[in-house]
Symmetry: C2
Subunit: 395 residues, 2 copies
C-alpha cells in the first residue's frame, strides 16, 4: 500500500497525448486550444471613435476654432472619410473610422449643434475618445497561446481573427465500466437485495463537464465475461474508468483479470479514506490507462476528482487547479490514512470557509449532493482544527 | 439615468416563468429540477456489508465463540441468506445483504481462515462494518428539492430512485442580435474599416454554459430592416439580447424601434462604466424581455454577467451567487458611476485575491481573456484600496 502523494505522482507520470483535431468555432467552447492564435491585424484595426459626436483636427483647436462646420457623417462600417478643413468637422458614430486629418473626437453631450454647425461646450483634449489602431495589440501578437481553455471570451478573440475552424486537443475516448451483480438498470424495479446503477451515470455526467462523451458499460461479476469484455474495451478506448471489483471480496476479479490482459499494475491500494482499494494501471502495448475505483459512491467520486481530473489536465497540457480553503470545524486524523472529507464551501468576505458535510460512510450517496468538494487531510499526529488552511478539490 | 442598484432591482422585478418539461436522465446534466425527488425506498435499502469478510451474530460473540464455521457465501446481488447457528458464519462481500440472524461483519484482514473455519484475530464490536437499512435516509425523504441544479452527484441520486425521466425547468428561447454595419462574418476577410462579428458568438458561448442554445442573428443598421426583423424575433423568443445600437449615434435605432414595436422601456442608460447606454425593456403582450447591451465587447460581456445571469437565475428559481474578493491593488472611483473592473483572481491560503487586469477601454476585447470576472465598485468619495472586500461577478 502506498500513500496518497506517491499514488498521485504515479498517476501523473502516466499521462497520454491525445493528438489534435479541427473543430468549427461553434463547437470549440470548453475545448483546449492546440495552436497559438495570433492577431491577424492590429487591434483595433483602425483609429476608432469611442463616442458619438464629431471628429475634428487638433490643429483647428490650436488655432482657436471652437465652432465647426459639419461636412459629413461617418458611421461604423463606412470606409475612412477625409476631413477637408481645419474649421470643419465630421459627425462620427461609435465604432467608425476616425477621418483622415482628424485626431480628436468630441461627444454630443459636450456640443451644441445648430444649423449645421457644432460648437464646443467645454475644453477638449487632443486625441480624446479615440481607440487608436494597434493600441490593444499589434499584428502578430500571440492573443491566445496553445493550451488555453476556450471559453466565451476566447471565442470572441477567435471570431475576431477569423478562425472559423480551430485546432483543439482531442479528448480521450473514455469507457466507464461498472461491475456488481446487485446493480440493475435505472428503469428497472429493484428486488430487496438490488440497487440501481448510479456511479457510472454520475461519472458520465462528470465527464461531460470535461467535454467527454463517455460510453458506459455494465458487467456482471463473472470472471470470463469481465475478461472478454475488458479485452475489447482496452483495445477501443484510451481510458477505462472502472467502479467496483477491486476490493478483497471473492468476486473482485478486476486485479486478476487486468493481469491476464497484460495491464501492468502501477499500484493497488492507497493509504486513504475513502477509496483505499483504488487500482491503477496501464496496458503498455495499447497505451490504455485503467483507473479502477472502489464501488462505493463516495469512494468513486472522490477518486475521480482526486486522481482522474489532474491526470486529464496534465494530459491535455492545462494547469491543475490548486485551491485552498479555511476549515470551519475540527476533524480527527485516521493514521496512517490521508482523508478526503466532503465539505460545503462558503465565501465570507473573500475567504473560502469549508464546513464538513455529515456523511454516513462511503456508501452514503445522498451526502454527495450536500457538498461541493473534498478537502485533503494528510496524516499527522494532531487533529485538524477550525481555521487551518487545507487543500480543496472542487467537485 | 438610474444607478446600478436601481437598474439591477428593475431587471430582477421582470423575471419570467419558463414552464417545465421532461427530459431523459442522460440529458438533464446542468438543468434545474422542477419537482421534489423523494427516496423511493430506504437508503441503503437493506443492511449492507461494507467490508469483505464474514457475517456473524453478536450473540455468538457474547457466548465466547471466536472460531466460526463457514456455512455459505453471500455476495452482492444475492437475495438475503440466513445464518443458522451462533457458532457459524457466512462469508460476505461488500455490498451484500447481511444475512438474517447476523448483525456484525468482520473483515478478512482481522481473520484467520483455515479448513472452512474463520478465527477472529482481534476484538470485534457488535454491529461493525454494516451500513444499516435507512441509516442514510428513509423512504419518502426529499432527496433533491425542486430548484436544485442537477450535476453529477444529483444524477447519481436520480438514477438510484429510478428517474429515467426527470421534470426540469425549461430554459428560455434566446435570440442574440448584433447590429452594426462595420461587422462582417467570421469567415470573411475584413476591409480596413470592417471588423468581424465577435460579441454575438461570445454571448452564444456564454449561454451554452446555462444550457441555452441561442439563435444568433445579425442586422444592418437600417431602421426598416431592424424593425421588421425584431418584430418577428419578439414573437418567436422569450428573451432578446442585443449588442449595439443603443448609444446616441445617428444609427442607434434600437430605442426608437423598440418603442414602435410596443416594447416598454423599463430603463435606458445606467450610471455605470462600462455599459452606460444599457437599455432594458419588456413587450408586455408577448412577454418578451429585451436586454439591449452597448456594442463594445467589454460592455456587452459585463452587462451580460451583471444583469442577465442574475435575471436568469431568479427566473429559474435558483440562488443568485454572491461572491466577494479581496482587492489586490488600488482603484480610482469615477463619480457618479459604478465601475465594473476586470480582475484575475487567485486563491492564496483560502483567500480570494483579485488583481485588476490592464484594459485599454471597453473596446479592448483582448483584455477579457486575461480576467475571470468583474469586481463591482460602487461610487463613493474615496478611492478603493488594496485589502478591501468588494463584490465579485465571475465570468
Amino acid at each position: 500500500m502506498i500513500n496518497y502523494d506517491e499514488a498521485y505522482a504515479n498517476v501523473l507520470s502516466h499521462t497520454l497525448d491525445f493528438d489534435q483535431e479541427s473543430v468549427s468555432l461553434g463547437h470549440c467552447n470548453g475545448r483546449i486550444l492546440a495552436e497559438d492564435v495570433l492577431a491577424d491585424r492590429d487591434f483595433p484595426p483602425f483609429d476608432r471613435a469611442t463616442k458619438d459626436g464629431i471628429a475634428i483636427s487638433s490643429k483647428g483647436l490650436e488655432k482657436g476654432v471652437r465652432t465647426f462646420k459639419i461636412e459629413g457623417v461617418a458611421s461604423a462600417g463606412m470606409p475612412q472619410h477625409t476631413l477637408h478643413e481645419l474649421h470643419n468637422c465630421i459627425e462620427i458614430m461609435t465604432g467608425a473610422v476616425v477621418p483622415k486629418n482628424a485626431d480628436t473626437v468630441v461627444m454630443y453631450e459636450h456640443l451644441n449643434i445648430k444649423d449645421g454647425m457644432a460648437t464646443l461646450l467645454q475644453d477638449v483634449k487632443k486625441a480624446q475618445d479615440i481607440h487608436f489602431k494597434g493600441s490593444d495589440v499589434v499584428l502578430g501578437t500571440v492573443l491566445l497561446p496553445k493550451n488555453t481553455i476556450i471559453g466565451p471570451a476566447e471565442i470572441g478573440i477567435l471570431a475576431s481573427v477569423g478562425k472559423s475552424e480551430v485546432r483543439v486537443k482531442k479528448t480521450p475516448k473514455v469507457c466507464v465500466v461498472s461491475t456488481g451483480n446487485e446493480l440493475i438498470a435505472v428503469s428497472e424495479t429493484p428486488l430487496p437485495h438490488q440497487i440501481r446503477r448510479s456511479n457510472a451515470l454520475s461519472l458520465c455526467a462528470a465527464l461531460q463537464k470535461e467535454k467527454i462523451e463517455a460510453t458506459s458499460i455494465h458487467l456482471k461479476d463473472e470472471k470470463a465475461t469481465i475478461k472478454k469484455e475488458l479485452s475489447q474495451i482496452l483495445k477501443t478506448y484510451d481510458v477505462v474508468l472502472l467502479s467496483g471489483g477491486v476490493s478483497k471480496g471473492k468476486f473482485d476479479f478486476i486485479p486478476e483479470v487486468m493481469d491476464s490482459l497484460k495491464v501492468k499494475k502501477v499500484f493497488h491500494r492507497v493509504a486513504q479514506k475513502p477509496g483505499k482499494p483504488f487500482w491503477f494501471g496501464i496496458q503498455p502495448t495499447l497505451k490504455t490507462i485503467v483507473f479502477s475505483f472502489p464501488g462505493n459512491p463516495v469512494s468513486t467520486f472522490a477518486n475521480y476528482h482526486v486522481y482522474f481530473i489532474p491526470w486529464l489536465c496534465r494530459s491535455l497540457g492545462i494547469e491543475i487547479s490548486r485551491e485552498e480553503v479555511v476549515l470551519d470545524g475540527s476533524l480527527e486524523v485516521h493514521l496512517p490514512l490521508t482523508r478526503f472529507v466532503q465539505v460545503k464551501t462558503e465565501n465570507k468576505k473573500g475567504v473560502l470557509w469549508a464546513r464538513p458535510v455529515r456523511e454516513n460512510g462511503s456508501g452514503d450517496l445522498t451526502s454527495l449532493v450536500h457538498s461541493d468538494g473534498f478537502i485533503c487531510l494528510r496524516p499527522r499526529e494532531k487533529a485538524y482544527e477550525k481555521g487551518e488552511v487545507v487543500p480543496y478539490i472542487p467537485t
